[in-house]
Symmetry: none
Subunit: 203 residues, 4 copies
DNA sequence: GATGAATGAGAGTTCATTCAT
DNA sequence: GATGAATGAACTCTCATTCAT
């Protein structure tokens, strides 16, 4: 009886499971107002659950944040692998991967905002884990650039590392200025960004 | 003579004034552990002053953060203006400005880290003020790109806005990975970044 | 069984609930030393609870003060209504109500002291709410005086408003001088006050 | 030179001496927002002086408050003495004194508001001193009532003390409701109050 | 599994007062 | 006489987390 009464609370009607609902609400709130400006109370209120329920699924607020990182990292890695392992000339693979990471970033802007703004709020161990995973991601990208350089389709007078960090820097900063209501969509910006990248790599 | 007794406190021996000392210590601590992870108590202890002294000069912790933003914005604007208003062909002016912003960023890495990580901790009014000032900064850069496009030395099939946000995104993210102890210095990275930018703009 | 261990703390042994205990202790302390001279720490120590517990029930110190006002207003209104709506000649109803408000005031002296001394410490909104409710209370009293004036049993050459504010001024000030250990009890003072009021109203 | 520049500060142009300016500003601010809600900084800013200047004339904030009490007490005593020592029948002397205390209270409403709201903020010693002086004031009033009772012009079945505290209670509470912009002036209210007092004393 | 009352350490901020100049 | 930078203790309030139920 009492349970039914509480069902009209925010997000209660959602079909997501409790942990997924918490993850989704946390992503929105952490992006909107920042990790430390979001209290656990606000979080559980917005998710329509109680504190006890949250602490049943996540051992701490930090744990919830880390879960967001894990979800983002998993998705990014999966997508990059798809593009890197596709066939075709390296310049096409790079262009596709470069455009896609922009598109995906724009489609998951909250994740990106949190990713770079709140990394320092994770425990040192988890920060290391995230950085390590990111490095693997970069390596994969760098490998394509070096492959192209060896093949002579890309210039080789600029370290591939520099190219990668420059490109990803730009991508990560989309969260600082991109607004969905603007003129350009994720696909268009992705195309431009990838085009500029390829142009800068011409021998 | 008086006051010498207390001089052995942390940073007391410094020749800086109290507000400057606070600004300098705050920049370091905010960059190291984040704005919200740094308590006012830690701040004043590290600066060798008391809380009361801090609140004598800064009306709030937010105010201290904003003072850092103002200092950064003033410096950035000043430098960009120097390069933009210099003579010579537009591609040379752009290259010099693009390389310099990297070099300056690397030389003031703490400022940059704070700038992009803690913007959301400022009061809404101040966030707007900072964003507005940044926009002016971008405009100046974009103007050079459009000038080059009209002159035919730069391509014109990619919106100058896209080029600017991409480039500055990369620059701002230097704080996420650049470590002074690494192999490349600010000047070298600046040269590479500027070179990639110019290359991407070839018609 | 559990929880018995902590029971020896001040007021813990009391059978009142946490919010009631806080309300009761706050009334005593606010009357004794004033609202602003009473720190939240003193309050919760005296009530045998922790700060967190207090803020679980009252959103601020101001909120606790307002709760006291609400309790007082509710009681005053209830009692006055009983007397006003009783039957009998208007001069008897007025005498009974006038005597009772004195008696009740004396029996709840702490409440009265707080009521008039700390009104300005409430938020402006709440001050207005309290004043509005008080005005309703005065109206009810005034109505009786006007009724008597129309009936010819009271004089009508002095505005009823003046009579009411004069009388309640006197009642409210009981908190400034009345001491329970004095010679006269609440009932006696009430009888004298009411008698003087009725005498002053003779046509 | 610099001194002249600061002359346009608030109240600087006033012809009052520094201590009088402080007293006048403190009276206004303490009445408006309460003693503890008024900081020494606000006080000296509003008076157009510096903290050092204030502490030169008043040894503490409490001292400034006490100076207000002293001024009020001196004035009240002086006026009452004038009326009490005047000639004429006792009922006329009492009526004049009773009307005058209302008039004077209304003309110095800030003083009255402070007097009863902030008494508990004085040091215990000073509270005693103030209460003692007030008692003397009441005695003088009571003496007139007893004189009238002995002379048979006033009733003697109500203790004179009760009459006095009732009347002064009403007077002191003028600060809680009287607003200068209302319909009735101090003289009119004084006449009504005195009339009600005299009426209530009819044998 | 889930609740929410309670904890307690610590946050940012205020402020009357002092004192070297 | 007068200044205002500096003090430092005390303030109200927040919050992630725990635990008896």
């Amino acid at each position: 009886m009492t349970g039914t009464a509480g069902q009209d609370r925010a997000e209660r009607r959602s079909s997501l499971s409790v942990p997924d609902r918490l993850l989704s609400v946390a992503t929105r709130l952490f992006a909107e107002r920042g990790f430390e400006r979001t209290s656990v109370q606000e979080l559980v209120d917005a998710a329509g659950v109680t504190k006890g329920a949250m602490y049943h699924y996540f051992s701490s607020k930090d744990d919830l944040l880390y879960a967001i990182y894990q979800r983002v990292l998993a998705m990014q890695t999966r997508r990059l692998n798809e593009f890197a392992q596709a066939g075709g000339p390296v310049e096409e693979r790079l262009r596709a991967a470069a455009a896609d990471v922009v598109h995906t970033t724009v489609d998951n802007l909250d994740d990106t905002v949190i990713f770079f703004r709140s990394l320092h709020m994770l425990s040192p161990d988890r920060q290391s884990a995230v950085r390590k995973e990111r490095r693997r991601y970069h390596e994969c990208f760098r490998a394509m650039i070096e492959e192209g350089a060896r093949a002579g389709v890309f210039r080789s007078d600029v370290p591939a590392d520099i190219v990668v960090t420059q490109y990803f820097g730009a991508v990560h900063h989309l969260g600082m200025w991109y607004r969905p209501e603007g003129q350009l969509g994720g696909a268009e910006i992705g195309a431009y960004y990838a085009d500029l990248l390829l142009a800068s790599l011409r021998p």
